[in-house]
């Protein structure tokens, strides 16, 4: 997958690049409006990440230009403003998703994959984790052709893990992804464990290996090469 990241902050750019490069993505960067304009006009990308506040112009303008030359490119807006107006405007201009700073890198990666599936793969991509396959269109999950019956939350959890294979996801990250602002005021994140326990049980019962590892019981990781006991 070929990505363009329009972001002026070098540290943030470095974080994103480090995280995404492990997936083997081809990442290009632009740190100001002119550079971004130049790149979207010269090359095509699968997904473009655009920060709204960039030197030399507005990210929304980059989005507008991009949509006029390559409307099928997947786009994700990144903004420091949690403002409804910006969000609505961005989505109206054809952005596929909107992410507010500070975001989780795991969350960004999951969104990139989702946007890519929708825009470039016709929404039919089957996500595979060894013997487990997830049909992201019909939301059906099978383990070696045995169907696994999951609740919507468990399904989302599995897709999230599959989007961030071999990455450590903390309970906080998972809770934010699945419940968003609802968990803002909750100290106790035990409900995350409940869902993981159920998901794990259902997958193992369907004949899959136990891929979801607990990391010091604070975070979790989908390990594609588990140490079989």
């Amino acid at each position: 997958m070929k990505l363009l990241i329009v972001e002026d902050n070098a540290d943030l750019l470095d974080n994103i690049l480090t995280y995404l490069k492990r997936e083997g993505y081809l990442c290009e960067t632009a740190q100001n409006y002119d550079e971004a304009f130049d790149k979207i006009m010269s090359y095509t990308y699968d997904v473009v990440l655009i920060d709204i506040m960039i030197p030399g112009g507005n990210g929304l303008q980059v989005l507008r230009e991009l949509k006029s030359v390559n409307p099928e490119t997947g786009t994700i807006i990144i903004s420091a403003k949690n403002s409804l107006d910006d969000k609505v405007q961005g989505l109206e201009l054809g952005a596929d998703d909107y992410l507010t700073k500070p975001f989780q890198l795991a969350e960004l990666q999951a969104r990139i994959k989702a946007v890519n599936r929708r825009n470039n793969l016709g929404g039919t991509e089957i996500v595979r984790v060894n013997e487990i396959s997830i049909n992201t269109k019909t939301m059906e999950v099978t383990a070696d052709d045995t169907p696994v019956d999951l609740t919507p939350k468990e399904y989302e959890l599995l897709v999230y893990f599959a989007s961030n294979k071999n990455h450590v996801l903390s309970k906080q990250t998972i809770a934010e992804h699945l419940w968003g602002d609802y968990v803002d005021h909750l100290d106790n994140l035990d409900f995350v464990y409940q869902h993981i326990k159920n998901l794990r049980k259902k997958l193992v019962n369907a004949g899959a290996q136990n891929y979801i590892e607990s990391v010091y019981s604070i975070g979790y990781k989908l390990n594609t090469t588990p140490k079989t006991a």
Binding site: N15, I16, Y19, P102, T173, H185, D190, Q194
Partner: protein, 424 residues
């Protein structure tokens, strides 16, 4: 009371006092002048009678009796010539009352007989003087009232028009419209000074407000990028080979960063509400919103085994910005869940004009209303940022709802008096 009314009342009161004093003075001055004139006339009369008697004229009884006001009596004893002036009360047949008359009496020696000659009368009855004085004063008072009304009309009308205009513009002045009040020229220098002052003051207020707003919003936004960097670095750190202890620190830091970001978002929200940036209210169906939200939070309420008891009237509609309505209710409900106890309860009652939400929880050792202040928390060590109730309070202020917080026997209750919109 209007300034002009007050001014006129004082003016009329002072006029009344002055006129009363003037009336009394007028009465005595007029009365005095008339009495003095009468005395001269009576003395002259006595002198004439004396002269006639010295010339040999005799006044017989009939002649004297026909003039009621003249008394001439020969005395048996000698008295030296003398004049006495006195007031006397005389019965007036026509008025049928006693009248105060001037009486001049004299002893005169004519030949070798001493005569007592006395004459009395009045030119104008004292009632008439009083009547005349009162009539004059009433006329003056009447004209003053008419004058006062005229002045009042003029002052409250054309003269004070620039002042009233300025006042109206100040009343309609809204900071968030970013328009200062430009001074309108008038030919009254005091009003001009006032208008110029108002212009400068509003200009300053508008620019201060703009700066403050920009600062609050920028500060909040500028914080988000470094927080995003810190968050990302922590995620990358978590991927490295960490010991359990190190990983725990990382996880702790992640929570702290999250809290920081929530804090700055909440402060920005509070600033936005206080700056009246959510002015466009719409009709929001509170009943539906509450029911939906109870379902969305079901998982969390079940986790803590909370018992939810509801009595929600259908179709309660309020006029509020939809974003504020959502924040208001979500904050209230999250508070009730968060500060609850295991196996606790939440009671929600919604009627046309009140929303009350109560939850079981720990007792407070201070006045619960203090929780509406920023950063005031029941438990200072809790993970809460202490802005939730401030936000709720501000939203209620803005929507014109009143809110109260009470605690009793382990129950915390928040009651909001709504202004619901009747839908037909």
């Amino acid at each position: 009371m209007k300034l002009i009314t007050k001014f006129l009342l004082i003016y009329l009161l002072v006029s009344l006092i002055v006129l009363s004093i003037a009336g009394v003075l007028s009465y005595y001055i007029i009365k005095g002048e008339i009495d003095k004139e009468l005395q001269w006339e009576f003395l002259d009369r006595i002198d004439r009678v004396t002269y006639l008697m010295e010339e040999g004229k005799t006044f017989d009884a009939n002649e004297v009796n026909s003039d009621e006001n003249l008394i001439i009596k020969p005395l048996n004893e000698y008295r030296k010539n003398d004049i006495r002036i006195a007031d006397t009360l005389i019965w007036d047949h026509r008025l049928e009352q006693e009248e105060r008359n001037v009486k001049v009496s004299a002893y005169r020696n004519i030949g070798d007989t001493t005569y007592y000659i006395s004459t009395y009368g009045n030119m104008i009855e004292s009632d008439d003087i009083t009547e005349a004085v009162v009539t004059i004063l009433l006329w003056i008072l009447g004209m003053q009232v008419i004058g006062a009304l005229g002045i009042g009309y003029f002052v409250s009308g054309p003269l004070f028009k620039p002042f009233r205009n300025t006042l109206k513009r100040i009343q309609n002045f809204k900071l968030n419209e970013k328009e200062y009040l430009k001074a309108e020229p008038t030919n009254v220098s005091e009003f001009n000074d006032l208008n110029i002052f108002v212009e400068e003051m509003t200009k300053k207020a508008v620019s201060d407000y703009k700066n403050l707003k920009e600062f609050a919003e920028n500060a909040s936004h500028e914080l988000q990028t470094p927080l995003a960097i810190a968050k990302g670095k922590l995620e990358l750190l978590a991927e490295t080979d960490l010991s359990a202890e190190q990983f725990k620190y990382v996880e702790n830091l992640e929570r702290t960063v999250k809290k920081l970001s929530r804090l700055s978002e909440s402060l920005a929200l509070l600033t936005k509400i206080e700056n009246h940036e959510f002015e466009n209210s719409q009709e929001v169906n509170l009943s539906g919103m509450i029911k939906e939200s109870i379902d969305s939070f079901r998982e969390f309420t079940d986790l803590h085994e909370l018992h939810i008891d509801t009595d929600i009237a259908d179709g309660v509609v309020i006029n509020i910005h939809p974003v504020l309505a959502d924040i208001l209710w979500t904050n209230l409900y999250q508070n009730a869940i968060r500060h609850n106890i295991e196996n606790g309860s939440i009671r929600i009652v919604l009627t046309d004009d009140t929303l009350s939400i109560s939850n079981t929880g720990k007792d407070l050792d201070f006045d619960p209303e203090l929780l509406f202040e920023r950063f005031k928390k029941g438990d200072q060590n809790s993970n809460s940022i202490g802005l939730g109730l401030s936000i709720i309070n501000r939203i209620c202020d803005q929507a014109g709802f009143s809110i109260s917080y009470t605690t009793e026997k382990g129950w915390h209750s928040i009651q909001i008096t709504l202004k619901s919109v009747k839908t037909g």
